[in-house]
C-alpha cells in the first residue's frame, strides 16, 4: 500500500471519528436519533465563509464556529429536543425536520451553490517519503491529541455515568440531585459543537454547500452501528471499519463500489448484530 493511500486512510478515519463523536454522545448517550447531525457539520464548515464574508481575520474562525453552532444547538435543544428524550422514533422524525430547516436556512443565507476556502496552513510536508498537505497532517495531529485528552478525561469523569442515569430513569436521576435539564442541554450542545468543529476542520478540504451534511450523517450513523454505542473504543472500531472500507475500495475499485460496500456492511450489521462489535458494557 502506498504511503499516500495510508495517509488518506488515516485522514478519513480521523475525520470520521471526530464527526461521529458528537453523534455518539447525542444518539449513544442521550438516545436522540439525531438526523440533523450532518447539518451541524455543515454549519461548522460555513464558519470560514462567514469570517471571510465579513472580512474578519482568520483566527476568528474557531470562535465564530463554536458560537454559531453552540447557539443553534442550544436553541433547538430547549425548543424541540427536550420534549423528545425517551421517544426515539419521534426524535428521529423531529430531527429530520430540523435537518430540513437548517439546510433551507443555510440555502437562504449562503445560497445554493458550493463554496471553498483555502487551508490556514498552506503547502505540503515531506512525510514518510511522500509529499502530503501540511494542513491535513496538522489536523490529524490535533484530532489524535483531542481523542487522547477525551479518553483521559472520560476515564476519570462521572459525567458519562450521570448521563446514563438520566436517560435510563429521569425521575430517579432528578431525585438523587442531577439537574437533568442542564445536563441534557449541555450534552446535546457539546455533541453538536464537536460536529461543528469537525466541519470547520474539514472545510478547507471539501466543497461547502447546504446539502453536504447528509453524507456525514449516514457514515457516522453507520460507524456507530457497526462499532457499538457504548464506548470510545467502539467508536474507533466503527470509524475504522466504515472509513477504511470506503477509502480502500474507493482507491482500488471506484467510489461507487466503496459507497455501496459501506451501505451493504451497515445493513448486515443492523440486521444481524444491531449492538455492534463493542456493545454497551461500561
Amino acid at each position: 500500500m502506498s504511503t499516500v493511500l495510508l495517509l488518506n486512510l488515516l485522514w478519513q478515519i480521523g475525520t470520521l471519528a471526530l464527526v461521529t463523536l458528537g453523534l455518539a454522545i447525542v444518539f449513544g448517550k442521550l438516545r436522540i436519533m439525531n438526523m440533523a447531525h450532518g447539518e451541524f457539520v455543515m454549519l461548522g464548515a460555513y464558519a470560514p465563509v462567514i469570517t471571510a464574508g465579513f472580512g474578519l481575520p482568520g483566527w476568528l474562525q474557531l470562535p465564530v464556529c463554536l458560537i454559531t453552532v453552540a447557539l443553534v444547538a442550544f436553541v433547538l435543544e430547549r425548543a424541540i429536543i427536550r420534549h423528545l428524550y425517551g421517544r426515539m422514533f419521534d426524535s428521529l422524525l423531529a430531527t429530520w425536520g430540523i435537518s430540513i430547516l437548517l439546510r433551507e436556512a443555510a440555502e437562504l443565507v449562503f445560497g445554493r451553490g458550493y463554496q471553498s476556502v483555502s487551508p490556514p496552513i498552506p503547502g505540503t510536508l515531506h512525510l514518510l517519503g511522500t509529499d502530503y498537505p501540511a494542513y491535513r497532517v496538522a489536523a490529524m495531529a490535533l484530532i489524535a491529541l483531542g481523542f487522547a485528552a477525551l479518553a483521559w478525561w472520560n476515564a476519570r469523569s462521572k459525567v458519562a455515568t450521570r448521563i446514563r442515569a438520566m436517560t435510563g430513569n429521569p425521575a430517579l436521576a432528578q431525585a438523587i440531585g442531577i439537574n437533568t435539564g442542564r445536563l441534557s442541554a449541555a450534552s446535546f450542545v457539546f455533541g453538536c459543537t464537536t460536529a461543528g468543529l469537525a466541519g470547520l476542520l474539514l472545510a478547507p478540504t471539501v466543497r461547502i454547500e447546504p446539502m453536504m451534511g447528509l453524507d456525514y450523517l449516514v457514515r457516522s450513523f453507520f460507524a456507530l452501528v457497526t462499532g457499538g454505542l457504548g464506548s470510545l473504543e467502539g467508536l474507533g472500531i466503527g470509524a475504522t471499519l466504515i472509513a477504511g472500507t470506503q477509502s480502500v475500495l474507493g482507491a482500488l475499485v471506484n467510489q461507487t463500489s466503496g459507497y455501496l460496500a459501506v451501505l451493504t456492511l451497515s445493513i448486515l450489521f443492523l440486521w444481524l448484530k444491531p449492538d455492534g462489535i463493542r456493545p454497551y458494557s461500561r
Binding site: H83, L92, L93, A94, L101, F222, T256, L260
Partner: protein, 581 residues
Amino acid sequence: MASVLIPVSLLLGALLLVPQALGEFTAYQLGLYLIYGIAAQGIGFLWGKTGILPLGQALFFGVAAYATGMALRDGGGLVLHLGLAAVVLAAIALAAFGLAALIFRGRADSGPYFSLITLALVMIAEQVAGTTTSLTGGFNGFSGYDSLAGLDPFGGFYYVIVAATAAVTLLLLTLNRLPANLIARAVLDNEPRLQLLGYPTHAIKGLAFTVSALLAALAGGLFASHQGIVTPDATGFALSAQLVILTAVGGRFHVLGPLVGAVAIGWASDSLRDSFPYWELLLACLFILVVLKAPGGLAELVERGWRRIIPARPAVLPPATEAPAPRAPQDPGALAFEDVRLQIGVVRILNGVTFETPAAGIVSVIGPNGAGKTSALNTITGTLRTTGGAIRLGTQRIDNRPPHKALASGIGRKLQVPSVFFSMSVAENLTIAMMAGRARWSDVLCRSPFGWRSGGLTRVLEHAAVPLAAELSRPAGTLPQGHRQFLEFAMTAAAEPPVLLLDEPCAGLSPEETALMTDLVRAYQAATGALVIMIEHDMSIVEAISDRVLVLHQGQVLAFDSYAAVSADPAVQAVYAGGTK
C-alpha cells in the same frame, strides 16, 4: 358498509369533477399529488397501525417506475403490460415480505433499526440507478416511452389515477373494518402479548410492510406513465423523506390522512415555492410541530372536530356464534422438566430443575422471591432460552422455540403484570384472544370472528361477579388493576389451552376478587380437564386449590408433592421460616 362506501363515493365524485371544474392542467397536477398520496397511504397503513416507520419507500416506487418505463418502451399491448405489472408487483411483494419477516424474526424491538435498513436500501437503489447508465439512463433519466394504453397524461390518464386512488381507499377502509386491522394494531400495542396468543408477529409485520410496498409500487408505476421520465430521484432518499412528511402532516392513523397531506402540501408547494421563499422553512416547522404536538396530523384534527358534531356510532357486530375448535392438541400430556438450566450473563437462575407434572389438575408453584418461578414459566413459553436440559410436553420437546409457537402446542400464558392491549376496547381485546389458535388466514378477512364465542370465554364473561360484560366498549388502558387481571385471564381462557400457565393471577386483587379468581381457575380446570400451573404466594389459596405443590428455591426443586406433605417438609419450613437449610 356505509362507513366505507360514503367516503369513497364522495372522494370519487369530487375527483371526477376536477377536470371540468378546474381545468385539465389542474387535473394533471392533482394527478401527481394523488400518486404520491397513494404511496403515502401505504406508509400510513404500516406506520399508523404497526408503528414501523419505513424510510425507504421510494425503493419500491422507483423500481416499479423503472420497470413500467422499460415495459412501455419495449412496446406490446395493454394486456401484456398489465401482465408484466402483475409479475413486477408479485416480485416486489415477495421481496418486501422476505426482507421484513427475516429482519423481524426472533425479536420484538428492532423498529428503529429496521427504519435505518430501509434507508440504506434506498440509498443503494439511488446509487445503482444513477450509475448503471446503460439500463436506467443514469442521471439524465429514463424516457422516450408512451404512456399506459396511450392515454394522455393531461387528459384520460387522470381518470386511471382517480380509479386507483378510489380503489386503494376502498381497500384500506374495508381492511379497517376487519379483524386484520385489530391484529396489525395489536403489534404496536403489545407485541409480546400477541406472540403469547400464538400470532407470528414477524409475519404480520412482513405482511403489513408488503401492503405498503405494493402501494408504493402501484404509485411508482402510475408515476412513470404520468411523467414520461424516470430519474434516480424516483428511487431516492429525498422522495422517501418527502413521502413520510406527507403522511405525518396528513395524518397516519386515518386512511384519507396521507391523501389529504399529499394534495394539500403538493398544492401549497407548487403555488408558493416561487412567490414565497420561506415556504420550505415553513413546511419543516409544520412537520416538527406535527411530530411534537399532533401525532395524528391534519386528519385527526378534522376528525376530532367532526366527532364533536356527529358522535361515532358503535359498529354493528355480527351475531355471536360458536368459534371453530382450537387447532392445538386437546390432550398433550404431562409437562416434564429434565435438568433445565438457565443462565443470563453470570447470573444462574435455574440450576437443574427436574420435575414431571400430572397430565391434568392444578399445580401451584411457590418459593421465595428470586427462586426462579417466573423464569421457569418463561422457559416453557420460549420467552427465555434455556442453557441446558430439556422441557417436554407429552412426547414433544418444547424448550427454546419462539414464543408464538407455544399456544399451538397447547400452552396459554397469563403474565404477572396484567398484559393486555391497552389502546383497545375490552371487546377488541377479547376478539383478538378469541381468534388465537383458531383463526385461519382467511378468517381475519371476514367479520364473523367479531362474534366468536368459546366455552372458556363465556364461563368468565357470564359469571355474575365478573365486571367485564358491562365494560366491553371501554378502553383496556382505563380499567383498574383488578379488572385488567380478569380481562387477561378471560383472554387466556378464551383460547382454551390444555396447559394454562398463570403467574400470580390474584396479585393486587381484593379478598372478594381473589375468591372469584380462584373460582374461575377451578371452574376452567373442571370444565376442560386442563393442566393449570399457577404461581401463588398466598398459602390459603395454594392450600385450597392445589392438587400438587412445586416448591422452588434458588433455581432448584425443593419439594414437589401434595400441599399437606409439602407443608410438613422440614426443608420447606426452613426456607419459609427463614432458618438455615
